[in-house]
């Protein structure tokens, strides 16, 4: 384990992980849960599995732009 500034490394790792996931159309689950707890405490947030499937369907689902990338 590197001893130098683990906090910075951890946040860098988090950014890289989030970027990789978002490149595939998967937004951050923790952000979603935090949002749900903050703004809709009466609703139960989706589980990670439901969230993943929901986003996957959204990316390739109905719509002119969904899931498309450039040439």
């Amino acid at each position: 384990m590197p001893v130098c500034c683990p906090a910075a490394l951890k946040s860098l790792g988090k950014i890289v992980g989030q970027t990789a996931a978002l490149m595939c159309g998967q937004p951050d689950y923790d952000t979603y849960v935090a949002h749900m707890l903050r703004t809709h405490p009466e609703q139960t947030p989706m589980t990670p599995k439901e969230f993943f499937r929901n986003r996957e369907d959204r990316r390739f689902g109905v719509g002119n732009n969904s899931g498309f990338r450039c040439c």
Binding site: A20, Q26, E56, S66, G67
Partner: protein, 694 residues
């Protein structure tokens, strides 16, 4: 933020920028004026990076602050409509990665490779000037407009800002462009896999791998994309290794040894199946894999170029700027500017920049980094592709990219023909080049992918594995391109299907029901039939292929960019910011001049090698007299050439019509905006329709 200009800064803080400018100018001058044996690629990279830095620091800042007045006080849709799903305020670096992954594809890798026939200099200059003043400006502006409109799509914005008819015409144009795009990308794959059992096997192996990943991700470990992708990647590498065994084992090789026609039919059928299957099974897992592979390979290529520092062997400018080049016909103006589309300016980015990215922008000021910045990165990818193509021996480059009708299939004859053009090459060099990468022949593998793969194999084997690994890296590069092109083909077929359903829904309401199976199958079948037609004609037409389809794609892509920029200009007028409209007018006018000239020449040029009508007339006349003109070998092929001439001409005419119509609507919108003293644009958000500035 909006009012904070650099006026108060001490002059000394600009000193580093003076240094960057001086270095860039020196590198650019070296690249431009160098007339020797060869030049190091690092000069090109330095010139490009300095240009990007200066453009980003000064021009994009000017656009952000003066032209658009980006305002962090205005809430973005991500903040206003935050739902944790579609609208999520996202860190700008994370969003940059997302946006870059969405805009970067095969385009910036193929165009520069084809344009290398004119030498490295014209392509480099257009990549740099084009991105700074056109491509990045377009991406930036559309992202800005869409962010101020709740992340509306390009088509929606054209409808609301320029009228419903303009929107419908543009939507139709986008569909036509999409069809050509899918055909030309699929053709790149076909050209790379013809009679290449190794390549075909590795690409075929991605199917079971993707299915496995799909099931893994659906039922075993949902949501573990990275984990799944690592497993997929290991299997892919195993596939490449085993592919070699397949290619040298005749009993196995014959199952993966296909003609272009067969490959085209397989791809069309596959495209249909893949886009009607549940997305989690095939499309999504391959999408994850190809995204990571793409980003990884681009990084590896960048590192490779920095370490290997290859010499560019292609002359700075070749004689083919006069339009007689073997790779594609047509003179420097306008054909260079449509051959290199992605990397300099690409209309498709307008669709991406008005897609998911605007829904995740946290602060308006970050649009500059994401919109303008990501496009600069893509331009760098184009520069790297140009380096990979021009570092090859020019003789080998032309052998790989000239149609078989010109150089034949025999290395001795090909070497003789190419040497007669002034690019000395021996038959041994051509056979050796093929052997190095584990193929039987490299002749006439047009389409960019194989050329790029040979270049990448040179670079990557220079950092890992040496000459022995060249064949592996070649097939790795082919696989990497094929994989993400096929993902684009599937996803694009789905998008085309939705577009067809949306358009047809205006006339037949039942077609618009996206959950109706019959409507889905009809629309998907139509989409596949349309791009499949152009793919198949590209394969069987002796004159067809990349050198016919790529210019059509380039013209259409740049026309889409022009349409997007017309919208941007019209909105700037409606915002009463017309004194800055030159920012978008400049690239609009240039793109219109290029694409309309190119379109006109493709239709009416008297040279049969360029003009579709001239070519059709020439072949018709010959056929009427019972002659067969090369490269056609039979009367049937003659008829096919003639038919394709008229189909391509019709398509070109449609593109021209769409653009001219949008110009008309754009001008009308601008005139209306000028005669109204109020701000008339329709922004969504806390500011709403802004009060008059007058």
């Amino acid at each position: 933020m909006a009012s904070a200009t650099g006026a108060g800064k001490p002059a000394v803080s600009y000193l580093p920028w003076v240094g960057v400018a001086a270095l860039g100018a020196f590198a650019l001058a070296t690249v431009a004026l160098h007339r020797g044996e060869s030049i190091n690629a690092l000069w090109l990279v330095t010139a490009a990076v300095c240009t990007y830095l200066i453009a980003y620091r000064f021009y994009s800042l000017f656009i952000a602050r003066q032209a658009f007045e980006l305002d962090d006080g205005r809430k973005t849709p991500a903040v206003r409509r935050n739902d944790g799903l579609d609208y999520v305020p996202t860190d700008k670096y994370v969003l940059f990665g997302h946006h870059f992954a969405a805009i970067a594809g095969a385009g910036p890798l193929v165009g520069p490779v084809l344009a290398a026939q004119m030498g490295y200099l014209p392509g480099t200059l257009w990549l740099l000037v084009g991105v700074v003043f056109a491509g990045a400006v377009q991406d930036f502006t559309i992202l800005f407009l869409s962010t101020r409109r709740d992340g509306r799509s390009l088509g929606d914005m054209i409808k609301t800002e320029m009228g419903v008819t303009a929107g419908l015409i543009a939507q139709f144009g986008v569909l036509a462009i999409m069809v050509i795009l899918l055909a030309v990308l699929a053709l790149v794959v076909v050209k790379a896999l013809v009679h290449s059992p190794w390549g075909t096997f590795t690409v075929a192996a991605t199917l079971p791998i993707a299915l496995l990943m799909g099931v893994y991700n659906r039922y075993l470990r949902p949501g573990r994309i990275l984990e799944m992708s690592v497993i997929g990647f290991v299997l892919l590498m195993a596939g490449i290794f085993y592919g070699q065994t397949v290619s040298v084992t005749p009993e196995l090789a014959r199952y993966f040894d296909f003609t272009g026609e067969t490959l085209a039919l397989i791809l069309i059928g596959y495209g249909f199946v893949a886009s009607v299957l549940p997305v989690w099974l095939l499309l999504a897992p391959r999408d994850y894999l190809s995204t990571f592979l793409k980003i990884g390979t681009i990084l590896a290529l960048a590192i490779g170029i920095a370490i290997v520092m290859p010499e560019l062997k292609m002359p700075a400018v070749t004689k083919y700027i006069d339009g007689t080049g073997p790779v594609f016909k047509g003179a420097l103006f306008p054909f260079l500017f449509i051959t290199i589309a992605c990397g300099a300016v690409s209309g498709f980015h307008a669709l991406i920049a008005s897609g998911t990215t605007p829904k995740m922008v946290m602060r308006e000021s970050e649009i500059r980094f994401i919109g303008y910045g990501a496009m600069l990165m893509e331009s760098m990818v184009g520069i790297m592709a140009l380096i990979a193509a021009t570092m090859l021996d020019p003789g080998v480059y032309f052998a790989m990219n000239t149609p078989v009708g010109v150089i034949g299939a025999d290395p001795a004859h090909a070497a003789q023909v190419i040497s007669s053009w002034g690019f000395a090459v021996t038959p041994d060099m051509l056979t050796q080049a093929a052997q190095d990468v584990g193929e039987k022949t490299i002749l006439s593998r047009a389409g960019g992918a194989p050329t790029l793969a040979v270049g990448m194999a040179h670079i990557l084997s220079g950092i890992l594995g040496g000459g022995a690994m060249k064949a592996f890296w070649y097939h790795f590069a082919i696989l990497f391109e094929a994989l993400f092109i096929l993902t684009t083909v599937d996803a694009g077929t789905r998008v085309a299907r939705f577009m067809i359903q949306d358009l047809a829904g205006h006339f037949m309401p039942f077609m618009a029901r996206t959950r109706n199976w019959a409507a889905n199958l009809i629309a998907t079948g139509l989409a596949c039939a349309m791009w499949g037609y152009f793919l198949y004609q590209g394969v069987v037409d002796p004159l067809g292929g990349i050198n016919t389809l790529w210019p059509l794609f380039g013209i259409s892509n740049q026309m889409l960019a022009a349409i997007a920029l017309i919208l941007c200009t019209a909105v700037l007028f409606k915002m009463k910011r017309e004194r800055f409209a030159v920012v978008t007018i400049l690239p609009t006018v240039w793109l219109l001049v290029c694409t309309l000239t190119a379109g006109w020449e493709k239709l009416f040029d008297p040279n049969p090698a360029i003009g579709f009508f001239a070519q059709g007339a020439k072949y018709s006349a010959a056929l009427a007299q019972g002659q067969v003109l090369a490269p056609a070998k039979t009367a049937d092929e003659m008829a096919r050439v003639i038919q394709n001439c008229y189909v391509n001409a019709g398509l070109t005419a449609i593109f021209i019509f769409v653009v001219v119509a949008v110009i008309g609507f754009g001008l009308a919108t601008i005139l209306r905006a000028r005669s109204n003293p109020n701000i008339t644009t329709r922004e969504i958000g806390d500011a709403g329709v802004l009060p008059s500035r007058a």
